[in-house]
């Protein structure tokens, strides 16, 4: 077995066996882990859109919120099983992203601004469409994850295993897309879009696909979150935090890598919750803003890749 395989197996053992065994009884730590990995999933979806699709989104809160509402409402009003509803939540978010398709014709800053505007619309819709969403009062007692074959997915460890698996599957999907011919064409599209089009690449369709995939992933995570905390209101489900945190996490961990955003999310979320929030209870996002601005200025390709690079260089340097 090569080193790469060993590290993969080790990571799986840690994630699926060691963490639940060692930390499973500590409810506070487990809740921090679940929340941070969920944000890691959104960060991964954000980075997929940025890295493969070449689009910077400031509106992933829209997908997160739509996914959470669709799944919550399907389980509560139509009695759809939770896991099926979560998938449909992702589908709902992907459908919502269709509304954003006209913006794909816009370049760079215009796309970013348009998607920023869209995020607001969905929040207002959720607030105003009272008969369905319950309005600003929100939805409570959203069904938790079920018990299947004697294992309670709704327990802290169950929730943890579900979100870890979701994010792992997403990482695999991301990896497969990146390694495919579509991934190669997408890589070229950033700086030479006309050149890719004249060899037969339907660049708008490919970008739209990346938007769908990213929206779907974010929607599923939003849905998971709704069943995890069992409560939803528009200001929470569509909170700007679901846009900001993943961006900070992805930039921090390196948005051109697959797992960087996830690792970045765990780190940034823990620091935000344990450090920033204890100093500045309301308005702790000011630190996230500062962190984001600082990173873009000093290491736009990510802090984690930068640290790894430094580490490698110091090890390889002649003594």
């Amino acid at each position: 077995m090569d080193a790469r395989r060993i590290s993969v197996v080790l990571a799986m053992v840690v994630m699926y066996i060691a963490v639940p065994l060692l930390l499973g009884s500590n409810l506070y730590v487990m809740s921090l882990l679940v929340a941070s990995i969920a944000i890691g999933g959104v960060a991964l979806a954000w980075a997929l859109l940025g890295n493969l699709g070449g689009m910077v989104s400031f509106g992933h809160a829209a997908f997160f919120g739509v996914g959470s509402y669709v799944s919550a409402l399907l389980t509560m009003k139509l009695g759809v099983p939770v896991f099926a509803a979560m998938l449909l939540g992702g589908v709902g978010a992907a459908v919502a992203s269709i509304a954003m398709l006209p913006t794909l014709r816009l370049k760079g800053p215009y796309f970013a601004l348009a998607i920023l505007a869209y995020a607001q619309i969905f929040r207002i819709l959720a607030t105003e469409w009272k008969s369905v969403t319950g309005g600003s009062g929100g939805l409570s007692s959203i069904p938790r994850l079920p018990e299947i074959a004697g294992f309670d997915f709704g327990s802290k460890i169950g929730n943890y295993l579900v979100i870890v698996s979701i994010v792992l599957i997403f990482a695999l999907i991301y990896q497969r897309i990146r390694a495919s011919h579509y991934g190669t064409a997408l890589r070229a599209m950033h700086d030479s879009e006309d050149a890719t089009r004249v060899v037969g690449v339907n660049s708008t369709l490919l970008k739209a696909m990346m938007l769908f995939v990213s929206a779907f992933m974010t929607g599923v995570i939003g849905a998971f979150n709704a069943h995890y905390i069992n409560f939803l209101e528009p200001d929470y489900g569509f909170s700007g935090l679901w846009s900001t945190l993943p961006i900070v996490a992805a930039i921090f961990g390196g948005y051109r890598t697959i797992l960087g955003p996830v690792i970045g999310a765990v780190f940034v979320y823990l620091v935000d919750q344990l450090v920033f929030k204890s100093f500045i209870p309301s308005g702790h996002q000011i630190m996230l803003g500062a962190l984001l601005a600082g990173m873009v200025l000093f290491s736009p390709t990510g802090l984690l890749p930068w640290i790894v690079e430094k580490f490698k260089r110091s090890r390889n340097a002649p003594a």
């Binding site: 760079g108 607001q120 500062a290």
Partner: protein, 290 residues
């Protein structure tokens, strides 16, 4: 009903004056630097909160705060410029992320200093009614609308007549050619940020003088400014003014005829319509498409 509709149109037009100032600032910076300042709405909001702070600390009219707002907002705009200027790689995308981060910082700084409560002016004088024929407005609404028209007139004069103004226009239309003509793009970039700051300061004090403010508003203002530039198509002053007035009127009509909560959606609806039907904007032919 007809009276209500006419009144809504009138109020919307007055509101459009401040919107135009905000959108012009955004467009000006985009013109010279090809950077969208996502913190622009937050700069406007900062001016509004300075008006609130001055009013409540010294018990004076918010209008007195204009010089303070000018100084603080222009310095903040310069700081934003200095930071954006440090970005050398992938400037278009990285500057978006940077200014987004700065916007988050300003919003939360406002939240920390002035709390999340909704604020509005206590000045009775500003809120006094002015009746023009069948139309009613607050003194502050009409006053600031006229002031915004004057500012736009000055801006137009400056851009077309003064040397700096022409340099700004030259850089916006062709950076390399401007360089050959001996214009330093850096200077024009700084000037455009400062002018955007001046417009933002006036708009912010205006917003506080006739409306209500709260921390999340900055974000919404950036979005509105963007919608206006899409409506306008190109960065011409009359185009932006027309787009701003249109947005103001559509919002006011939505509030009157439907519900105040749908105000934001009205602007978005307009935006989508233009995007689908007239991708080059209502008043322009500039190519934005990829």
């Amino acid at each position: 009903m007809t009276e209500l509709i006419f009144q809504a149109i009138y109020s919307g037009l007055l509101q459009g004056g401040s919107y135009a100032l905000i959108a012009l600032g955004l467009a000006l910076v985009f013109g010279t630097m090809k950077v969208i300042n996502l913190a622009h709405g937050e700069l406007v909001l900062l001016a509004a909160y300075i008006a609130y702070a001055v009013e409540s600390a010294f018990n004076v009219s918010p209008i007195v705060a204009i010089p303070v707002a000018l100084v603080v907002v222009c310095i903040s705009a310069l700081l934003v410029y200095l930071l954006v200027d440090r970005i050398k790689k992938d400037r278009e995308l990285n500057s978006l992320i940077l200014t987004y981060g700065i916007g988050v910082m300003i919003t939360n700084a406002i939240l920390l200093i002035w709390k999340a409560d909704i604020r509005s002016t206590k000045s009775a004088w500003l809120q006094d009614a002015v009746v023009l024929g069948p139309f009613y407005s607050m003194r502050s609404e009409l006053g600031f609308f006229i002031l915004s028209l004057v500012l736009m007139g000055l801006l137009w004069w400056w851009l077309s007549k003064s040397w700096y103004g022409r340099a700004v226009r030259a850089v916006a239309s062709n950076r390399d050619a401007a360089k050959l003509m001996g214009i330093n793009p850096r200077t024009t970039e700084i000037v455009s940020f400062v002018v955007a700051g001046i417009l933002a300061a006036f708009a912010g004090v205006a917003l506080y003088s006739y409306g209500v403010i709260q921390p999340p508003l900055g974000h919404a203002l950036t979005v509105k400014a963007f919608i206006i530039t899409v409506l306008a198509g190109v960065g011409s002053i009359p185009g932006v003014l027309a787009g701003a007035l249109l947005l103001g009127v559509v919002e006011a009509l939505t509030v009157t005829l439907l519900s105040s909560a749908l105000q934001e959606i009205a602007g978005m609806g307009l935006f989508l319509l233009v995007l689908f039907v007239m991708p080059n904007g209502l008043f322009g032919t500039a190519a934005r498409r990829g």
